[in-house]
């Protein structure tokens, strides 16, 4: 059931300890900063977070990690010049890391939303990231079995929503938003603008409202 709320605090109020939380964004583009701050404030702990990276600088996801609220990161690229909070927790053995090639991350998230039980992909075959995984040769190519990544909650950022929860994005800020919205039980979306139902061209909707649960406008 679609829900429009007034504050980011209301938007994240039902996120529970132990949840798996997908967070959209690649670099700063598409990062739902205000929702992440609200997640910080709401106090939920023991989180498994799915994001391409593992936080940067002293804000957002990096701060959640610093405060010990993240039990496990599922990501493709945790190591960045300013990922010091993750680095410290990782080296101290205080955070788990599931490192996933970026395309497998995207496809596994997509699989969760699309009801796929698992798939074979050549990406990672013969590498240490396939160790312990089922493999088989298909059409002469080595392939690795990968499983869907489901989430309790997705926090994503879009440009506009209409009254039915349909979303459009802006440029490369689209990135993980559409697939995370489909993979999570509850999708919480911050948008720059809410437009009347009928104002979005049905040909150009990127995320249909069926994938959206909560919308909050962030100035």
């Amino acid at each position: 059931m679609l829900n429009f709320v007034d504050t980011v605090a209301d938007a994240v109020a039902e996120i529970k300890d132990g949840s798996t939380v997908m967070i959209g964004g690649f670099g700063n583009a598409g990062q739902p900063f205000e929702l992440i701050d609200a997640l910080m404030d709401c106090g939920a702990r023991e989180l498994t977070v799915v994001n391409n990276n593992a936080g940067q600088g002293d804000q957002g996801l990096a701060l959640l990690i610093k405060e010990g609220r993240v039990k496990k990161m599922i990501c493709s690229f945790p190591r960045q010049s300013d990922s010091w909070h993750f680095d410290a927790k990782y080296k101290a053995g205080q955070i788990e890391l599931e490192l996933v090639p970026q395309g497998n991350l995207a496809e596994r998230i997509r699989a969760a939303g699309a009801g796929i039980g698992g798939f074979f992909t050549p990406t990672g075959y013969g590498t240490m990231l396939a160790e312990g995984k089922e493999t088989r040769i298909i059409d002469g190519r080595g392939q690795v079995f990968e499983t869907p990544i489901h989430a309790d909650v997705a926090l994503i950022k879009a440009l506009k929503a209409d009254g039915k929860g349909n979303l459009v994005y802006r440029k490369t800020a689209r990135n993980f938003g559409p697939i995370m919205a489909a993979a999570a039980k509850q999708s919480i979306v911050q948008v720059s603008e809410i437009v009347p139902t009928g104002a979005l061209d049905p040909e150009t909707v990127v995320t249909p409202g069926i994938y959206v649960n909560t919308i909050v406008k962030v100035a």
């Binding site: 939303g113 699309a114 039915k164 349909n166 489909a182 979005l200 249909p208 409202g209 069926i210």
Partner: protein, 226 residues
């Protein structure tokens, strides 16, 4: 008041339109629904706009409106039954893989399907008569049967020959295993699942009379079921 009389909600069997109205009434406001070809399509006549129910058609659209008439007819805007339809405000279009991802990913609240047979454990047979010379054709039936959160079946309880379509085990080829949650028929509404077949209400018969027609054990559903 006996259980039998308490669940008989109509003095006569329900006609197709009354049954469609009943199914429509049972769909919660805000739901996303796929209505199968044939009898289930009638349900759309009773979904009032104020209940904010969004219809999905598997050929690539959410927000499908009523059948198109006259100048509304547009060859590029059809439903899964290939009937021209209309577009409601807030609609969206997507390609076939994205459309079936909506179904297969468990995002539809309800799909309503016709059936040849439904088993006591909710197995569905609705795509193939099993006749050896029949050309098989499945379409989206198996995806709808396995994907939606709730699968409602609409059918007459009995075949033309008088046999129950609710059966111990389907004799027709299956569409899906254990997928049906509710069966709407002219004589009763049945709830199916691991706990056996429960009867929510009957039309024009008592539970005892219904039991004589149906070859699986029936029990009255708890009154709380909506």
């Amino acid at each position: 008041m006996s259980i039998e009389t308490s669940i008989q909600t109509s003095a006569t069997p329900l006609g197709r339109d009354d049954l469609a109205r009943l199914v429509a009434k049972d769909i919660k406001p805000g739901s996303f629904v796929n209505l199968g070809i044939g009898q289930p399509t009638l349900v759309s006549n009773y979904l009032n706009a104020d209940r904010d129910i969004t219809l999905h058609t598997e050929n690539g659209m959410l927000g499908m409106g009523p059948e198109a008439k006259g100048e509304q007819i547009d060859g590029d805007l059809i439903n899964a039954g290939k009937i021209p339809v209309t577009e409601l405000p807030g609609a969206s279009y997507f390609h076939h893989a994205d459309s079936f991802a909506i179904m297969r990913g468990g995002h539809l609240d309800i799909c309503v399907l016709g059936a040849f047979q439904v088993s006591a454990t909710g197995d569905l047979a609705n795509w193939h008569t099993g006749a050896p010379d029949a050309i098989p054709a499945v379409g989206g039936a198996m995806d709808l049967a396995t994907g939606a959160k709730d699968v409602f079946v609409m059918m007459t309880l009995l075949t033309r020959e008088g046999a129950s379509k609710i059966v111990e085990a389907c004799t027709y080829p299956l569409t899906g295993v254990g997928c049906v949650t509710r069966v709407y028929t002219d004589k009763a509404v049945f709830l199916t699942g691991p706990g056996g077949v429960q009867v929510r209400e009957t039309f024009g018969c008592t539970l005892e009379e219904l039991q004589e027609l149906v070859p699986v054990p029936l029990t009255a559903a708890p009154a709380v079921v909506p």
